[in-house]
């Protein structure tokens, strides 16, 4: 979904910044980010994505060009005040090891002069928002797991309710399972808060998952393409972007479409593979009716909200090529054939590649 074309929240105008060694970090970047929505900056290391992010809150200053946040040039504002008005989630959380979790979260409110009691009350509230238990507040960062520390990092960035949130590879240091959880949490939070989020990652799957818009950078600080995930995957601007998106970019496109519009029918009678159900009509397994024994293959029923990619996967895994469809309560609603899923996948592909440019 493209976010609404309201106010331009962040505007880069020919922003330029060399690295200390003389090579270019960011090359004359011109990019407008509308209010609300997640923009993901991707690219390999040294492509200038982190430098771009850090120019927004003046942690890095451009040598030429300008950056405006909320219409105001960042270089014309007091740097410390600007930074307090922008949430920043740092790589590996970057928490203060000598402050308790609550005090870490209360950092910016205290700097803004909210007073201890109000800042603490806000911190307690945010613990719950990011899904941490209240007793975690009294602990020190080193007493938490990596994933919990990352949640504290997000809570700290949200403390003063800034309109803009900068996230610099925030989930890079946690294991894949926790990363997926944190990504889900971020998407949930974003649905509630609708911040303007700028997110840096080198993981294209993370970018497709989280981004409303993805900006691909190439070494030398060039912005190559900025588009919605669907457009990017279907119509990469050049060979570099196509290469960066990888050989499975067509499959990634399917991860953006849900199963909702794919037809389903009743489970076939008398076929070799029969779907077994429990008393509440929830699918249990595929049973081989031609086998004498209890030959069963596990079934992974899908809901309308599941992606076309997971349906494709299940249609390959299921012995009959049929995908079991269920409602929100897990009750069987019907089955969809491998052919129907393939047909839909093809439609999605051609639709995405022929959208008027």
């Amino acid at each position: 979904m493209q976010p609404g074309k309201g106010l331009l929240m962040i505007q880069f105008d020919k922003a330029h910044k060399p690295f200390p060694n003389g090579t270019t970090a960011v090359h004359d970047l011109t990019l407008d980010l509308p209010e609300g929505g997640v923009t993901v900056l991707v690219g390999s290391s040294g492509c200038g994505k982190t430098t771009t992010l850090r120019m927004i809150n003046r942690m890095v200053e451009p040598t030429s060009g300008s950056i405006r946040v909320g219409g105001k040039d960042v270089l014309e504002q007091d740097a410390a005040k600007l930074r307090r008005s922008i949430g920043y989630v740092i790589q590996q959380a970057g928490l203060f090891p000598h402050r308790t979790v609550l005090d870490n979260i209360a950092t910016v409110p205290l700097l803004l002069g909210w007073g201890r009691r109000k800042a603490r009350a806000r911190a307690v509230e945010l613990l719950e928002t990011v899904g941490l238990a209240a007793d975690a507040g009294k602990r020190y960062p080193h007493q938490l797991s990596g994933g919990q520390q990352q949640r504290v990092g997000v809570a700290r960035a949200l403390a003063a309710d800034p309109p803009v949130l900068l996230m610099d590879e925030p989930f890079g240091a946690v294991d894949p399972v926790v990363r997926t959880q944190l990504q889900d949490e971020l998407l949930r939070l974003q649905r509630e808060l609708n911040k303007t989020i700028v997110f840096v990652t080198h993981d294209i799957d993370e970018a497709v998952r989280l981004g409303d818009r993805i900006a691909v950078f190439r070494t030398g600080g060039h912005l190559v393409q900025c588009a919605s995930p669907a457009e990017l995957l279907a119509r990469p601007a050049d060979a570099f972007v196509a290469d960066f998106l990888g050989a499975e970019r067509g499959l990634k496109l399917l991860s953006l479409t849900t199963l909702e519009e794919v037809a389903q029918g009743p489970a076939p009678e008398g076929a070799r593979w029969q779907l077994t159900l429990d008393a509440g009509r929830r699918p249990l397994a595929w049973r081989d009716s031609e086998s004498k024994g209890e030959a069963e293959i596990p079934v992974r029923p899908l809901r309308d909200s599941d992606s076309l990619l997971s349906a494709l996967n299940e249609s390959i895994a299921a012995p009959s090529g049929l995908v079991a469809r269920v409602d929100a309560d897990g009750v069987l609603t019907g089955v969809t054939s491998r052919e129907d899923i393939h047909a839909r996948a093809g439609q999605v592909h051609s639709a995405a590649s022929t959208v008027a440019a």
Binding site: N57, M59, A80, K81, L82, R83, R84, S85, Y88, I90, Q91, Q92, G94, L95, F96, P97, H98, R99, T107, V108, L111, D135, K138, R139, Y140, H142, Q143, R156
Partner: protein
């Protein structure tokens, strides 16, 4: 060599006075050393070019024999407590400066960056992030400086001060071992107690470094 217990009993008041005087000289020197070394260390930490100069200079000062330092100070401040304190302060400075710089260096860049990115100004970052995190290394320096100052006070007997050191000259001159033994024991006790108090102080000041986990 036996201890004359009656001498000790007869001189408890003197011993108390000397102990307190000894402690006062040492502690004043450490406090002054801290006051001077903190800003210098911050300067040495921030300005790379000053770093080598300041640390080198303090090393040179350290190589001057202690007696010589006090003798050199005589024309300036005479046979006074001031001379004692200045001399001792010079010695504590070396240890405190080096450790404070190392302590500030040990603060992770990521943590300082985080403070900056949250909108903390440099002075506040120094006071509320860098110094607290440097505290364990600084305190290690304070402990060494304190013990060193306590042992060095005795040297100033040669310029008419000396605290418990006066007991040594007294004992040697009269060939009477009791004051010497008492002086050594009291100096040792002072050093041990001071060190224990500093360890406790550090424990109180750095709750995040305690090993036990609440509710974990």
């Amino acid at each position: 060599m036996s201890v004359d217990w009656s001498w000790i009993a007869d001189h408890t008041d003197d011993l108390t006075t000397l102990t307190l005087s000894h402690l006062q000289a040492a502690l004043t020197a450490v406090l002054l050393g801290l006051l001077i070394s903190l800003p210098l260390a911050v300067l040495a930490h921030r300005v790379r070019r000053l770093r080598g100069l300041l640390l080198g200079l303090s090393n040179v000062l350290f190589t001057i024999p202690s007696i010589a330092v006090f003798v050199l100070l005589l024309p300036v401040s005479g046979l006074t407590r001031t001379t004692t304190v200045i001399g001792l302060t010079i010695y504590t400075l070396v240890v405190l400066l080096r450790n404070t710089v190392e302590g500030l260096d040990s603060v992770p860049t990521r943590t300082k960056e985080a403070a900056k990115a949250m909108g903390t100004r440099p002075l506040r970052t120094l006071l509320t992030v860098e110094l607290p995190l440097a505290l364990p290394v600084i305190m290690a320096g304070v402990r060494i400086a304190t013990v060193m100052a306590i042992s060095l006070v005795s040297v100033t007997t040669y310029i008419g001060d000396g605290g418990l050191g006066q007991l040594f000259t007294d004992g040697f001159q009269r060939n009477f071992p009791t004051p010497v033994i008492v002086g050594v024991v009291l100096t040792l006790l002072l050093a041990l107690v001071a060190d224990a108090l500093l360890v406790t102080l550090q424990y109180v000041l750095t709750p995040w470094n305690r090993r036990q986990k609440q509710g974990a």
